[in-house]
Symmetry: D4
Subunit: 226 residues, 8 copies
């Protein structure tokens, strides 16, 4: 038996990027940062860039941000979204025309909306964001009905009872991607209540993703914007 | 040891009515019918009537209805609400002026709304009912905003995601009593999802009762209408 | 107090169709049949038809089927999907070219897939269906990878562990709508396990709807096929 | 694509106060503090004050307290309730006569009772508080039955098994607003057990709000005290 | 491989009575009837009787009752408790002096109380039963405080919010065995809410058994009455 | 649009047997009967037999049994296990020598044990079965310790608290496959409690399968007996 | 409105001891320490001592220990149990003869066993403790069967699958008080799994208390030892 | 009453090793480190070594590692697995030939895989590990099908939706031990979702262990490799 594994360090340079993903799925692999050493994220960004791909890392910590940005100056940080993004030079001019719409119920839902927005930017879409349209102030949404009805796809981000996607869904003819957030207390159960509300929406055009899953919502909205 | 309990029948004539309740709580005891023999309900109605009280039984079965109504001709049946109600003669003329408002999200929520309505009638209020104002057709509620804003108390009955109480709550300055119903499928979990949505309402004026608890909602609305 | 509500019948002819929905949402209201009297469904179909709309009823019982079809001869019954559908004459020739793809994991998932398919037909799409591609026989899906990769949207219907949407998601660049079914036993918890698996999919292009929600999946796929 | 969002700061001065709420709902928007930068709370207080409204912030942290009170000297701090409150000058003399009653089961339930009390004070009611009347010492509540029976509305705050609202409900003819607290351990499940007990109260006059929702209970009691 | 198991009948005469249990545990094995063929219960009663033991079967169906009583004339049936009991002749005169007390909250909790009572009779105790002392009518329990304080052990049977054991516990110096019942609706979750309330009782002298477990409560009370 | 799907029958003869499974997995596909028309099971048995495979159907209904056995005389019925099994002629003589051991806690756990046993017989093993060794009669298991310690793999079937696999695991050096059953009431939650107990076993050699999953336990035991 | 509540301190000297409890329940109130200021515990101890009562505080923090013991030299600290205990002088000689038995499954269950032991000592019983008799090493319990069978009451403390109370229950004729602990990981769900196992014990003489509720178990054992 | 327990220290040198376990179960007791003082682990290692046994401690903290390794130089540390392992000299040469296979879905599942690997090394097996074969990149697993099909037993470690064991199970004829990990967010519920997926696998050869239970999976794989 090998004694070499005595006091083995954490595997900071094991990296198994699925570089074929762009072929199969149209976009390269995004990096889910939790639990990954900063060096691993840096290396993944470098490999993706060398491969001609845009790079995205979600749920990054301040340490991960510091390590990556001190090495790669062009990387875009969004501290509210907790993302790092690195676009290849050529992308600047070709931003796509379709504008996915992102709506939040409350101000504390913004970081999840921003994660979705950064994901769309990585996919070369520039989303439109509308904040604080929650149902406790119903007159606020009514002002935007025309904007809603022109969208091709809408992401609705809401915590607590998660009622906003149903209300939006009732006004529009496009798919609504509902993102529950972990905002709330007591029986919000970390977002499970909002998610259940969204899954049981009486509006037929509402689908749901996992709690706080801004990345998935953005990714799906990008696919639906083609 | 006594052999008398050999093959003892079901205790059809044990009856422990809390006849003091009207003194303490303002209204006599209502009969929750499930599991009670029809004869027990008949006897309770007779005792309450003899005591000068209005009588109400909720969640009655067809057998219980048949047994009571074939013996007591003045009893009012509401098959949708599954209630029996017997008013003392004097109540006819003194119906109270306040009109609690009851709203439902969908047509299948009606039986619970009717249970609340019958409870209010037993308390000598005549509620106003508005049906099918669920959020999937948001233009429907908007037509009634003025009516909502004139109410002293509103009962909102909704299943599925239970979003309607939040939306109603955002328009009004009175208490909203939210009643989740067991309408839905899959992750509606028999009404638990609607209840959770109501408890987590972002509107501050929403309280909740148990699933399908039309009686409690009506009772509370009656107390708040004084 | 009015004695007219004495022994009031079930409200078979109350009908509150949201006839404005086609304007707001692009499609008319579909009828969710559970708990509705057969006459109410018949009347809704007639009203929708008079309005020039296609009609769809889901989760119909044999009694509801019998009542509607004995009155309306052109209505299409799908007993596996538990649907009734009535298309206006003009629709026959204009079926849309896009073919949404529907995949099932096991043979018992078929009724939910058929509900999705009937919904798409009501929206004037003709879906392509592939059955029994569950992960326990992984070679079966591999034969269809090319078909998967040509789809614009894919509905994946699966019970038990609900793993198929993740596997499909890994091969394609289009949105995957995952529909958990209540197929399974023990800790399948009536489909909740499959739903949880789908919400936690490691594939970024997977969104989910409620358990057994074939209608919602079909409706969303129709919106994404435009 | 715009590089301006590179290392974007947290949005400390985005503020979307629903200043119309007082018109619709009778009271201005209260500030739910968690996750909000101290400057945002300060600015909201200033805007509300400029609008002639009383201001209330709940669940404030020591940092938020420090920032607001060092800038606004008239703001009232309640460290037990974790609230900040700023009354317009004119309110001092017009405190309303009705005295909502607040009862706690145990001494650790006091912070939630205080949050309800502060909310009532912000609505210009001065509540009466009774502490430590939990059911393990049943003789304690009995001494206060007369006080209970004179109330127009009672808030009952309890953790653990949440039995006190039922017992109070059995003595009185007014609505009881039950507030579960997260006090307890093991199967108290952070207050869910207390909430379930309250929702299943055998007393008909008990409604419930979310766990630790002192603000909601106070707000509802204020509305019921008009 | 043996073909003898072709179309093998249900194993009606496999019987594995733990006849040693009386030595180890003081009482013979009681028969939990669900799923057992009537002949198996008859045979168990006969074996126990031959061994000189009292016999008890719980949760018996009408068919099981019919089969056993038509063969064994001395067996005592309690249809409310759903029990069969067969005492050896000698037990009649030696009934023990201690009288365990059994209390119910509501009338629908009686079958569980009767199962506990029958279990105590099988152990040669004659319990005292008090019905309908639920907390919604708090004055009822107060009349019995002296009786409560004289008991050596008290079984409290309650459904819904399960508050009665806490209230009883606060008045007495003996152990309280709390039995949750499946009485309730909605969020009573088949008795889980009552059980959780009992486990979280603020009274220190309350222990709990499984939902509807009248047998266990009776058995434990018997052991504590020695 | 095709009118051929008007009143389409249930798809009784769609059959997608994975006939390659024997190559990949060593055994042919077993038929999970729920929801399948009797004709489909009959046809699957015929196809498997024609392919030279043993056939097994689990969770069969009396109707399915009747249909299959009236057509195929050699099929072996086990009504307790709810299985149908058809062995090719050649299997009679080659039954494997290894004897997997199956133990049950209570007599109502037997059907699940029989399902496991039938699965092993289909795999050409003849299991040894020991019944009623539950922990409430601990002296019973002790008599069999030597038998336990000679086994190569043990299936332990238990409901209620599911404690038996831990106790067995503490005596032996082979893998223990724990099968929770849905036997119990109240907080047994249909077997979830037993499953949780088994997953948290303090014995290191215990793995678990789904509730009532006799087939899976038998299949795994067969694989471990090679 | 009173400005006196501006920046109100935490209520360190509010104290509502139920000094009547000893009359009603036989023992004085024990202090549940979490969330209480150290001064409040010190004052409660002083008041109880002045009243001639033994004092007990459970779940004390190091700060609470430090504050109380630096002021009251006779107070007994048990850091493993996290208790403080102050006995009146007279108790030393009158320790009761009955010896309740406390058993643990694993070494990490000891703090809960010690809390039970300290509670018994406060009630003037000296318990016997046996550690590490968990079912993974079944031969260990067998050595103590005789000791078990002589006990009048047994407390069994166990985490993980919580199987030990069932095994103990099967050997004895006295009540078994099962205490689940929060020891375990993953699906132990903080002790809920152990609790569920105990509630579903197939042994009839097992009752349960809340997770980690050593105090309640000790208190009940003391009451049963009289 | 003894004052010796005044301020009693934590029981650092109580040690109850089950040294008989190797006789009964084939392997000595492994040390589950959480909550144990470092000295206790050191002493256990010394006792096991003196007894001629290999020693293993799982879930060790840095403090425990530091204390043990500074005293025992031959102990092998695996910081990723959080294990300490001490092999007797003689084991070096006799490593067993069978090579259990361990597969992970994602890179963050590696620590659990390493715990399983260390457990196998302690049992004198040298496992083969394959990382990052999750279903989102389905082409990756396909490259290893031949390796899978040669294994005698496979451990599959996966978080999130836990789909990988089903896919692996569909390709092989050996038992698959599925280990859910707590990797994920939102509705991954700390690994419960992955576990549920594994328990409901449509592949018949999949059994499951507790969340993150690398030790159990390794132990079972070792037993199945004999």
């Amino acid at each position: 038996m090998n004694q070499d594994n005595k006091d083995k360090p954490m595997p900071v340079d094991d990296l198994c990027l699925d570089l074929d993903r762009k072929n199969r799925c149209g976009f390269s692999e995004a990096i889910y940062a939790p639990g990954k050493p900063p060096e691993m994220i840096l290396r993944a960004f470098s490999e993706l860039h060398a491969n001609g791909d845009h790079a995205l890392a979600t749920r990054v910590t301040p340490e991960q941000i510091e390590h990556v940005t001190s090495n790669l100056k062009e990387v875009i940080v969004n501290r509210e979204a907790k993302t790092l993004r690195w676009m290849t030079d050529s992308s600047e001019e070709k931003t796509k025309v379709s504008q996915p719409l992102i709506i939040t119920a409350g101000s504390t839902d913004r970081p999840v909306a921003e994660e979705a927005a950064e994901t769309l930017r990585w996919m070369e879409y520039e989303p439109q964001l509308l904040f604080d349209l929650g149902v406790a102030g119903p007159q606020r949404l009514l002002k935007h009905v025309e904007t809603l009805q022109q969208a091709k796809v809408i992401i609705v981000v809401a915590g607590m009872e998660g009622a906003l996607p149903s209300v939006v869904g009732g006004w529009v003819s496009c798919p609504v991607i509902a993102v529950p957030t972990s905002i709330g207390y007591g029986t919000s159960f970390g977002g499970a209540t909002a998610l259940l509300g969204m899954l049981n929406s009486c509006a037929a055009n509402v689908c749901a993703v996992n709690i706080d899953a801004g990345f998935k919502a953005g990714y799906l909205a990008g696919l639906m914007s083609k």
